[in-house]
């Protein structure tokens, strides 16, 4: 049985699991002052992905799902650029050095270079498809 402490003394709840926490009676971590990006303005939210590009800028790709394309922002919320403005981006993910966006307006998957924020290629999908979430799935090479 492990006892979990809710921060700031509001709630203590108990969870029965197979875990044993010898010599550990609970640990509460207090976050530092959190920050909010006042400058960032979004019309909605659908999905976001972190930037694993080679430049390591750590930018976020946020799809609003409202026909406003993709907002490329810094972790502090500063808008860098907007991609596919006017398109409804239903899903967004990244891996393999690219960002993939499901563009419901263009009926296609947009492949983006995260270092330059430029379009690499477009993979068409059958017309009428509604793409929602998408994720990278690696398989063994060979």
């Amino acid at each position: 049985m492990a006892t979990f402490h809710r921060a700031r003394g509001v709630l203590v709840t108990t969870l029965t699991t197979a875990l044993t926490l010898a010599g550990f009676a609970g640990l509460t971590l207090t976050a530092h002052a959190d920050t909010t990006s006042a400058a960032l303005s979004l019309n909605g939210y659908h999905q976001m992905a972190g930037d694993l590009g080679s430049d390591g800028d750590g930018y976020l790709y946020i799809s609003e799902g409202t026909g406003d394309g993709i907002a490329v922002v810094t972790p502090s919320g500063s808008l860098q650029t907007t991609l596919f403005g006017g398109d409804v981006i239903e899903g967004i993910t990244q891996d393999f050095g690219y960002v993939f966006a499901a563009d419901a307006t263009a009926d296609a998957i947009q492949v983006i270079d995260p270092d330059t924020y430029s379009l690499v290629t477009t993979w068409p999908m059958p017309a009428g498809d509604i793409r929602t979430r998408l994720r990278w799935r690696p398989v063994p090479c060979g």
């Binding site: 979990f4 959190d34 972190g50 930037d51 750590g58």
Partner: protein, 574 residues
Amino acid sequence: MEAGALWVSYNDGSVAPDGAIGDFAIPDDPMASGMSSTFVPDAVQGTYTWTSAPDLSSDSDGTGTLVASDEGNSPETAAVYDAQNSPATTMIQPTATGLSDGSGSSVLPAGRKFALVGSSSDSVSIYNLESSDDFSEPFVLPVSGAPNSVAASGANYGEVAVGTARDVYIYSPAGDLDNVIPISGLVPQGLAWENSNENLLAVTDNNGSYALDTLDTPFATTTSFTITGPNTATVGTTVSLTGQLNYATGVGVADATVDVSIKAPNNFILSYAAYTNSTGGLTITNVPSTTGTYRYTARYVGVQDWDGSFVETSTASATVTATLTAAYTPVAPVRVLDTRNGTGGYNSPVGAGQSISLQVTGQDGVPATGVSAVVLNLTATDPTANGWVVAYPDGQPRPAQGSNVNFTKGETIPNLVTVPVGSNGKIDLYNSAGSVNLVADLQGYYSASGESEYVADGPVRVLDTRNGTGGFTSPVGAAKSIALRVTGQDGVPATGVTAVVLNLTATGPTASGWVVAYPDGQPRPAQGSSVNFTKGETIANLVIVPVGRDGKIDLYNAAGSVNLAADLSGYFAG
């Protein structure tokens, strides 16, 4: 050559009933191939049907786990696929766990092989994909309110962030609730960890106005643990050490329990728990009861990983050498208490939870005033239960923790104790359990006008009758004594030494008995013992023995024969 696939869920009305999953094959070198790919519908469908285009999640570290979940379509909730195979195979469909929908999913980093599925029932469930036994018993992380977003931090971290309408919960890989971050008036619609895994990013909804929040250092990754304190302390005076539990990310810590053990010079180990404050600091206090080196060790046991192994265990130690500001005056051992015969004013065992007060000044060669502490060889005998005895100054509260003699039922066992004296010249002896007879042999006292100061030396073995160390090669016979030279060798001056400090060990006794140490050239004490033993037992005790004029001490054995060993750890010189 295929290197992976980009999975896409879709709904175009051509699949039954409404949702399906397909993929784009991605080549090994996508740039060289121009990143061309063709959509393959229904590549993963398995036996599961979707009522809408499902939410997808997969790990990015190569374990090939793909999680699909319906969003708001009950009762069909989620499915997990092994995407390493082609076609992918269904691993689990955790619909029987009470999840009312599959709103959100995430996959923990490679190697952990847990899938995380969001729920609308005030909890998030985690499934161990390595064991089908766990499919029906998910690891449940409780939250307050329906979770609407989840995110697992990257490789080798495994913290899980869960967003609800009011708060963001941070769970450690062990399932410990590390933090709850209130986001007043905001709804965290989406969560993502920074690449450094230190900060959590949240897109929050404030009545239709969206913002990006940075939740600063919401979890801890590694710890460091230190203890610092003085190098020296004074017997009878509180020594205070400071511990510090740190997280690499600089997160504040509260309520962490730390196991502390204190190893006294007589090898007795006192254990207790300390607690860190809001900055991770903790204080360890102790009152050294005797001279010598104390070792303070604190151990923090952190979180367990998902596989059950501890991932954060930190240990720190510090040593403090306790000395005396007052000078020591040894006396020939004299019995000042024996509850078996009325010596000291008590003629019955000390009961459970009872204490007795013993006058130790103004008699037996101890001055009436100016005495700060006395040194006694305190023996517990005939205990009716397992327990312990603690000695402390009369007129002061009994120590909340600590003991001087620990015994098991029926055992006779001594220990050398240094006890600060109360303002009335008395000490108290408290018995924890059962009843026990107590015997105390006065060895000396500390006072400002004392004749000797302690000098640490060794430890060095000055006697071992098993191998000739000290000049004796055979056990000490019954009612026999040996005279051991202790000055002019092993760092002990030839002159000016009033007493030596020895850890005296009796081993291989052929009968139950006792040994007493006393100055050579003086009569053996009529009463008193230094080490008590039963047949065959090996047992040690710390002793302070006045030295005879010839620089020798005598060791007398009462019964049977016994081998003796003595390790010198210091001396008193005046």
